[in-house]
Symmetry: C2
Subunit: 232 residues, 2 copies
Amino acid sequence: MNKYPHSTRILVALDCLVFGFDGEELKLLLIKRNFEPEKGKWSLMGGFLEAEEDLEVAANRILYDLTGLKDIYFEEIKTFGKVGRDPVERTISICFFALINIHDHNQDQAKAQNAYWIDLKNRPGLIFDHNEMVNMALEQLRYKAALHPIGFELLPEKFTIPQLQKLYEAIYDTPLDRRNFSRKILSTKLLIDTGEKNQNSTTKKAILYRLDKEKYQSQFNAFHNFMSDAMI
Amino acid sequence: MNKYPHSTRILVALDCLVFGFDGEELKLLLIKRNFEPEKGKWSLMGGFLEAEEDLEVAANRILYDLTGLKDIYFEEIKTFGKVGRDPVERTISICFFALINIHDHNQDQAKAQNAYWIDLKNRPGLIFDHNEMVNMALEQLRYKAALHPIGFELLPEKFTIPQLQKLYEAIYDTPLDRRNFSRKILSTKLLIDTGEKNQNSTTKKAILYRLDKEKYQSQFNAFHNFMSDAMI
DNA sequence: TCGAATTGTGTAAATATAACACAATTTATT
DNA sequence: AATAAATTGTGTTATATTTACACAATTCGA
């Protein structure tokens, strides 16, 4: 079984960040641990890679266990591998982040994991190196969202331009000019006017758009040059 | 010792790409394997993570064994973890790339590993998923080099603007306008005129510049907006 | 009916990019 | 010594993009 006899086998974990957006703030789905180690403290959702399981399959499994969702958008951040990062036993952890529509997941599943949506800005300290993971994930999210249309993963299927702007303002924690934002978003030609308007408004009702999924797949580069470089 | 009793421990490898630049083409330091498995075929340089070794330390160790260099610039690409990727035994591999000055490494050390500089464009097929690793590394190098001044890692300490242009043309496999390139590079204010000129020229001798290391550290974002977005 | 809040669209100035021309330097050649 | 060929340094101009604004339209409640 062990064909590379002189090498050490090591525990391989996966830790995932799940981002959500409530219309105002970026949120993270965090675990209030009711298990050891570090019971009672906050952490990311994690799990171990199994012997006969592809890494990608494991990521999907862990995301499913937390949210009840399949085919979620996720991407790897990096692998954390300091010797003492998990005090229980040497464990390396492959960290990744996922983006979901905050209203679109299985609440029972999250409850079963003791998971809560926490404001990214007001999050508690996390165990191990999970704080560093969050910092790197946010950096990578900002980087990626400036160049690629991944922000839509956080919104409902139909959304308004002002909603999209609020999302980008939350991601980059900065105000954006309404008029320039609108022009730039529309210039990507990735938005389709549904003909409907947002009825949940007490003032002028904004147009509801949906993403042009085909262009979104084929022109994944359409967002290049989207956010000003200073924000990346 | 095994405190997480129900989980499987897995071999953790590191595979590294070492990029070099000979003045004309991007090169990769590849291994002609004189060991099993896949003896006689070409692969990336690799090694296993040891029980009491930080991931970053392991990367530096493997790079040192190959090049004799320390403190090389490197960054992680991603972790490859398909079940059958190594037919000998389940192994996940953390893949990373390094950038070195091709004239600046220990030839004996490379020879001891049976390593050769191979034109990126004319590289042979590699074992396992190493071809995919090279593709992803090249993508990430292009991505990063457009936004950050990492290309300099591939050049000698003193270099000319035409040399730098040839490097960027090799990275993006595209011709660039000499005059616009020069203006854009100089506008970053990261280049210091050494007062010397490149004597290895049979025509007009170009000015030798060196990188302003302090700005390079503090203004790591100076390159944002450097390469046109179409190239990323 | 009016005012407050919000949304959609427009415009002009500043900046950046792209596509060019031309002069200066260096060596080999005549 | 003059000249040609190759290369380098420095413009210049037209176009495109970005920024910083103004103004009109919609919606609802006072």
